[in-house]
Symmetry: C2
Subunit: 435 residues, 2 copies
């Protein structure tokens, strides 16, 4: 037969079973945390009509998507979970209860140039709260509380959730009458660490921005200190602008409530430098940094938006949400050795029989499974050494050996694969030990 | 703004959140059961190179698949989880431990004509055991035991797993020297209920099959009775053919071991009429019928195959497995009202505050979540009636009401939404009651 090389496309993660066990545990922990906060699952199709999915998308998105014709239809694979959410909420508006708290965990597709750590197929784990017309600011504080809980569940430490409110910078620009130059100003400010304060001021002057305004901007970006100190300095700027005032009040509320949600002070910080998707987010924005691995960039981001589904409905649907790019996060954490898990295998017990009659082995397995212990029996006729090697490779923590002696005495030999300890025990004792 | 109608492609299931909760519970129960038997998860890409994915496929498959070009590559969406498994095992042969017990639960794509109950995107939930060169027959008994356990977990009753062995019929044909006519004979036999025994015999005579052989075939298809009676009658056919003998021995082993796995006698039955994928399965085959809904056809099928990955490797990899088409199964069970679930909502508790200061509400939520109780707070400033309506629509079983009185007395008002019962209780009592 003509043999075809069994290869997987570049940019597509395909893990070995032991790694997949770890990946799935992370996914399940994220899901459990989302559910702990009462978010509802949805599961939208991977394929959508291009006309629907790309309603909003610009040229960059269209270049990256997987689109194709099938019959008379032009179809596209989803490139995020936000556009499908917008479609979903607009289509099912009358059947949903608001605020609509939904999570979705699923694969999305982007035809980016493949490179190490970049994936064309990857899991996103999203939560969003969608309001009908309005949405309470406390939601903006609950989202980072959920991020925090999720990271803790994943065993991460030394991370900081950076929080900003886009209305602050926009209000500052509006107040200084430089809204039309905001993109240029932002780009210049972003370079401050590279080019220095003086050069930034020079460039801003070149843009024709007044001295007063430049001072105002520099005061703003120089704000430092604790969260409370930053809020105090923002107050002291005395910027008499409605947008700025509103942003500051929202930020104060978010900080107040995030504390009530028991998020430790060291785990969040006001960061006036983060902007995120200028065209999309309208209020609170978040990024999350692993402090020992800042070069990785944000591992979980999100924010507040005025209107989720303007392309699909006249209803005003404000929302706030966040997304974890799980495939990339798994890849990174695996790389730097930060994956912490409770279990490393699916099976908790491997049963190995030294006798041909497997009745005793199967009975044992039946009982263990009835006690919710994941159990497998090694059926193949191999040497005992091969069977132990199998348990070892699969990281199964316990092996039960059943031979003539065990059957005659009504006991089991239980070996703890980690300690090497071996005991002659009853079936009830196995259940107890393994659980 | 130009509004685009937010529609979903026909043939793609997109559930409301309450239905999705039920769907996900079914999916999780299937996964848990697969894991209880020690199967390892894998997660292969949805997109594969067409050359790889369609290595084996015939014209029918190619017509139904979603294929497209991206850059220089011709790509195809997976249409099942078996071909990706074959690719996976062949590619990672050296890194896997055999027997390789894997499960995969994921979406597959078939561009079939959309019609009620037929889906173009649907979940398959597969388990397979792959041997390296050989694979013990006990695996063929464990697979239906896992089916059985899965159906029980899903709350199904009155189902029968039909079991056959393809070697029996092939051995019968070989013994009668009519192998080259086997397809014609099979097709004729299949019509026996419609056209009657006499006509079948006439047609077989027309095929030039000898009287002895026709008698032999008719004896075979007339076998009836209990499982043990069927085996006895198969023995009594006295067919002196190696293939037949081997099939009968395998079937006897499967029946012997399926009983050891505690599968009730009424839940499985030898059914010599099922054939399944003539070109693929080589030994044991399974189909599962809901006895009150036979018209639905098999809801879970599978079998034994000689060689999984002949298109990708020279290694001989025999396997046995089964697949549940979850999307269709959910659709059917929902239709006939057979979905049984433990919980109907994600949140177990909704907290409703009558006071503006949400400190008390948030503290309560923090404690409940720390006790692994899924909890949400209704943040929006709505009338109490609207908040209860929300709980009702989402089928949240408990609502906690917090007002001035509750705060002053350090208690909570807990309402059981099903019974209407309302109590003044402590936080600890809430934890106890809800758990």
């Amino acid at each position: 037969m003509n043999i075809i090389e069994p290869r997987t496309l570049p940019g597509f993660m395909e893990l070995l079973p032991n790694e997949q066990v770890l990946f799935n545990q992370m996914k399940e922990k994220i899901q459990k945390t989302y559910e702990k906060f009462g978010f509802l699952p949805i599961d939208t199709p991977v394929i959508e009509m291009s006309e629907v999915l790309l309603a909003k998308a610009g040229g960059e998105t269209e270049k990256q998507v997987y689109s194709f014709n099938k019959g008379d239809s032009n179809l596209t694979l989803r490139f995020d979970l936000t556009v499908p959410l917008a479609k979903y909420v607009a289509a099912k508006y009358n059947e949903l209860s608001f605020p609509f708290r939904r999570y979705q965990i699923g694969k999305v597709y982007r035809g980016e140039r493949a490179q190490r750590g970049r994936f064309r197929e990857f899991y996103q784990c999203d939560i969003d709260v969608i309001g009908d017309g309005e949405l309470n600011i406390i939601n903006d504080a609950e989202i980072p509380a959920i991020m925090n809980e999720t990271f803790k569940e994943l065993g991460l430490e030394n991370y900081t959730i950076h929080i900003n409110n886009r209305k602050l910078l926009n209000g500052l620009f509006e107040y200084n009458n430089i809204m039309e130059k905001s993109a240029d100003v932002m780009r210049t400010i972003d370079k401050i660490e590279k080019i220095g304060i003086e050069t930034v001021i020079e460039i801003l002057e070149d843009f024709g921005i007044e001295k007063n305004s430049i001072n105002n901007i520099m005061e703003f970006i120089n704000i430092k200190g604790t969260n409370d100190e930053k809020i105090e300095q923002l107050e002291n700027l005395n910027i008499d602008n409605e947008l700025f005032r509103s942003g500051l009040n929202e930020l104060k509320d978010v900080i107040k409530y995030i504390r009530l949600f028991n998020v430790e002070e060291k785990c969040f910080e006001i960061d006036l430098s983060i902007a995120r998707g200028l065209d999309y987010y309208t209020g609170t924005v978040y990024e999350t940094i692993l402090n020992d691995y800042k070069e990785i960039g944000s591992i979980c981001s999100g924010g507040r938006y005025n209107n989720l589904a303007g392309f699909y409905t006249d209803k005003k649907l404000p929302g706030v949400g966040m997304s974890i790019g799980l495939t990339r996060l798994f890849f990174i954490l695996n790389d730097i050795g930060l994956i912490k898990t409770d279990k490393k295998s699916i099976s908790q017990v491997l049963i190995v029989s030294m006798v041909d009659d497997l009745k005793y082995a199967i009975n044992t397995a039946n009982t263990l499974r009835a006690n919710n212990i994941n159990t497998e029996i090694y059926f193949d006729n191999k040497k005992i050494k091969a069977k132990f090697k199998y348990a070892d490779k699969l990281k199964i923590p316990y092996v039960i050996v059943i031979g003539e002696d065990e059957i005659n005495n009504g006991v089991l030999t239980l070996k703890n694969m980690e300690t090497g300890e071996q005991d002659s025990v009853s079936l009830e004792q196995v259940v107890e030990k393994v659980k």
